[in-house]
Symmetry: C2
Subunit: 249 residues, 2 copies
Amino acid sequence: MNIELIGIDGLPEIAPGADLGDLIVARVAAMGHSFSSSHVLVVTQKIVSKAEGRIVPLSSVEPSPFAALWAKTLHLDARLVELALRESRRIVRMDRGVLITETHHGFVCANAGVDVSNVSGGQTATLLPIDADASARALRAAIAARTGAEMAVVISDTFGRPWREGLVNIALGTAGIEPLHSFVGSTDPHGFSLQATVQAVADEVAAAAGLVSSKLSRTPVVLIKGLTYQRGMGTGRDLLRAPERDLFR
Amino acid sequence: MNIELIGIDGLPEIAPGADLGDLIVARVAAMGHSFSSSHVLVVTQKIVSKAEGRIVPLSSVEPSPFAALWAKTLHLDARLVELALRESRRIVRMDRGVLITETHHGFVCANAGVDVSNVSGGQTATLLPIDADASARALRAAIAARTGAEMAVVISDTFGRPWREGLVNIALGTAGIEPLHSFVGSTDPHGFSLQATVQAVADEVAAAAGLVSSKLSRTPVVLIKGLTYQRGMGTGRDLLRAPERDLFR
């Protein structure tokens, strides 16, 4: 299997209310690429959040005393801490300059996904989409309506991980692709019946696209051609480990 | 930026002592691909471990009483638990059918990376390479000696993660590529000076290749063309978070 990752750049600055489907279809077409139901489109959370109006001017945020206290301890902006707490249902760790929470969606990540990069020079924060799976489904439907191609869509974001340095892109939301591919019960080429292998395909798709759409690249969309993937109704939520199965809460 | 991921299949079964460099060069050439210092080669741990003789017949393993006790509790093969303990310097979690340890190298993963898939129908286990960075450097040198191309080499393995379901491929060892790309101090396209963004490029490279070289694909090598990456002397060890920076030990 050969796979191509194609950076889709040249999109305009995305404002609240922007029609992402229209803009992406226009840009993919202008770059001379075809539309096919076998393709996968990876879109960074940042432009999805902007289009959905999930942006907050920091000047409008009044930190609570708790946020102000912890911002001092963690050496973070108190308004960012305030937004992160509002976006969270549980604090996982607050220590050594790091605030890791579980968002209302169930994502475990730094600052609840609240981020000021690539918005407005640090004066505005983006929040994660309210429902990134719904965002992915809407984008998939919009692209299908305009082109006839039912592409898989993955909304990606950049997360840290325990134990390992550096950030990788993961799948926040998906549409038209099963995010997990189970090999359990399959027999490997050496005759062994696989017992525990479940591949996080959507996370690997997001990570692959991350190589193209890094922070400075102005390339928030990646078109993937040639990937054989399982179609299905699975969502980004399937990638969240249930609390009772999680040994690191 | 456009990136191509090319699956290199058709390699023979790898036996201890096999010359991986020779075999990969021959196969890449036979498939009609060129050699270039701008390429990245991703090789799964499994064939590296086999070539380096890091394989153990399970029939040769005598479990300790501790391994036998915990194998029963975890519903795992006692010989596998024994091997995992031998490969480990610290137990991170043993609970709910999962044994997560820190290997002597510092990797935190299930069963210390000991695995019976894709070897011999479940009767033989592979251990992680003793030094996957050295494996990567040797492979890079072997390919350069034969082709003149100084490709980056990443040795990958399939790891689970806290908080998220499913496995993804990560970089165990690297040569010729900086595994971490720091954007700290860079200014994003909106004028914000990035403060904490360090991208785990080698892990994203491994994850991308994982889309091509999944468990049943008989494709243990992936050639990546078109990726702009930082050359350097960084190693897979750089991706391991230092204990004092790790909030999830």
